[in-house]
């Protein structure tokens, strides 16, 4: 349980200790039900994430200069942009995991897909909120029909639907298979929607969320830090979420074995028939 060396929060620190994610299966598969979903790897990861976040805060709030037209509000962007990236990454992982699941049928990938989607939705929601908060001081409104915002909203709803499908009451394999199909198709949809909406906005000459203004080196670097920080957080959350799903599955399996035994015990002539049970 060693805590990886901590030092003062300079941005580079985070990049060094960025994981080599310790194999997630270590803590869960072999053992009997562990007490929590932590492990050496995730602790390191967690600390790294914290450090990176600290660095981000440092850079974002203090060190980087306020931007010309948008003043202090641009700092929100340090949160906003990385969460977008991470959300898309999450959904991409869902798609890939779904494809692999359909090919291989192993539960691992199904759980990965589900976990990634959940976290993706969380980050997307965060992005929407931060975007909305950013909009207020900048334009005076909470919402604007900008292509990215619109398409992201649609994307969030799509994946909420995905999560709903995962909760359907169906035999597990059937449900997983459907969710996998949906996971793949949803990402394709995301791409289609993005392009359509962008196109659409072009038609109407609407305002776009501009980030194409000049950025000096420090701001750029802050963004970078933010990106890394969020990636770490994402990875950490993903691993934990996955383990939770895995544990839940294990519990179900045990319940199943028990149900099997009970079922067989409905007839109690088994001893006489010498049947193996």
């Amino acid at each position: 349980m060693t805590i990886s060396d901590s030092s003062s929060g300079a941005g580079t620190e985070a990049q060094d200790s960025a994981p080599q994610n310790a194999a997630p299966d270590g803590a869960s598969t072999g053992d009997s039900t562990p007490a929590n979903t932590g492990s050496r790897g995730t602790r390191r990861l967690g600390v790294a994430a914290l450090l990176a976040t600290a660095a981000l805060l440092l850079f974002g709030l203090v060190l980087s200069p306020p931007e010309a037209s948008q003043a202090e509000a641009v700092r929100l962007f340090y949160l906003h942009l990385p969460s977008v990236a991470v959300a898309y990454l999450g959904f991409f992982i869902t798609m890939v995991a779904s494809i692999i699941y359909l090919r291989k049928g192993s539960l691992f990938w199904d759980l990965v897909a589900g976990s990634a989607a959940e976290i993706g939705v969380v980050f997307s929601a965060f992005m929407l909120i931060s975007g909305s908060l950013w909009g207020r001081p900048t334009w005076g409104v909470y919402w604007v029909w900008d292509p990215r915002l619109t398409s992201t909203t649609v994307m969030v709803v799509m994946y909420i639907g995905y999560l709903a499908v995962r909760r359907l009451e169906l035999p597990p394999e059937v449900r997983s298979r459907r969710a996998a199909v949906l996971g793949i198709v949803s990402f394709l949809n995301v791409i289609v929607v993005r392009y359509s909406v962008k196109w659409w906005r072009g038609v109407h000459q609407g305002e776009t969320v501009g980030l194409d203004t000049q950025m000096d080196g420090l701001q750029l670097f802050s963004f970078f830090v933010g990106l890394v920080a969020f990636m770490l957080i994402f990875a950490w959350m993903l691993i934990h979420r996955f383990r939770i799903s895995w544990l839940r599955h294990e519990i179900d399996e045990q319940a199943l074995a028990q149900a099997l035994a009970e079922r067989r015990a409905e007839t109690n002539a088994t001893g006489l028939l010498g049947r193996k049970n």
Partner: protein, 316 residues
Amino acid sequence: MIQPPGQIPWPSHWFAGQNCDDALYRGDVSDGEESTAGPASGAEGAEALIADPVVELDDAVSLIDRFPAVAGLDLTVHKGDIVLLRGPNGAGKSTLLRLCAGLAPLSAGQGSVLGHDLASRVGRRSLRRQAGLLAHQTFLYDELTVEENVLFWARANRIDTASVEPVLDRLALSNRLKRVKVSNLSAGQRRRTSLAVLVVRRPRLWLLDEPHAGLDVNGRDFVDGLVKHAVAFGATVMLASHDFDRAAEIATRTVVIDGGQAYDQAQPQALREDEPNFQPPAEATAANGSTEANGSTEANGNTEVDSGVAPAAESG
């Protein structure tokens, strides 16, 4: 008529020129003289094509929504058998039939039906075309008429639609009833229509889930006759029924299903006479230690006494 592969060859004359009035339906099924020419040739052709044993399940487990409806079941059925499945409600008879139809999954254990491996998706898929299931659900479209339904399912199964008409005749569904919407039929007539769909497909393995339910005496006689005919032409039949007496008459074997497992019984009549310790499952009391088991554990037609099966606690 070109026989689709995997179907038993039913001689066309069996369907041709029948009087399609209710006299036939009323139990006049003893037209065996017509089919004397049939079975010989038909069955021979069929012999070559059907794998034997037809059903082979080894410690099969089938999970329905995480519930082990079939829990470690051993069963072997040979070609030409008429197997009666008995057992309390919830014992797993329906699931077993669906398993043999390729619709229920094989979650553990091994099984092969009609030569197809139940564990593989491909196997199940090919099995489905050759097995016929008559279930509680009717598999019919309510808004369509009888004729349209049967025609649709014939087309869906890629069966020559010319064979539909004779089947409808045989099942006394011609004339007036043909053009009636399924939703306007009585339950018994609906069952007959489902049966017609099954017959049209001419499957090698008939899986009937309580075929007698909802039918009057004539209807039940009729089903029995149909079953005997089918077997004479090389089919194998598994049926689940609560109408013990009637079903026992046509069955060649009886298997008790309880708690997701199968326990074989000898010919019921023989059982009653020769086995003084026989206790019908419904009345088991403290009979648990009262008889010794004879025979092996293989559910293979050996006379194993199923004694003292406790009335299953109602489950699932």
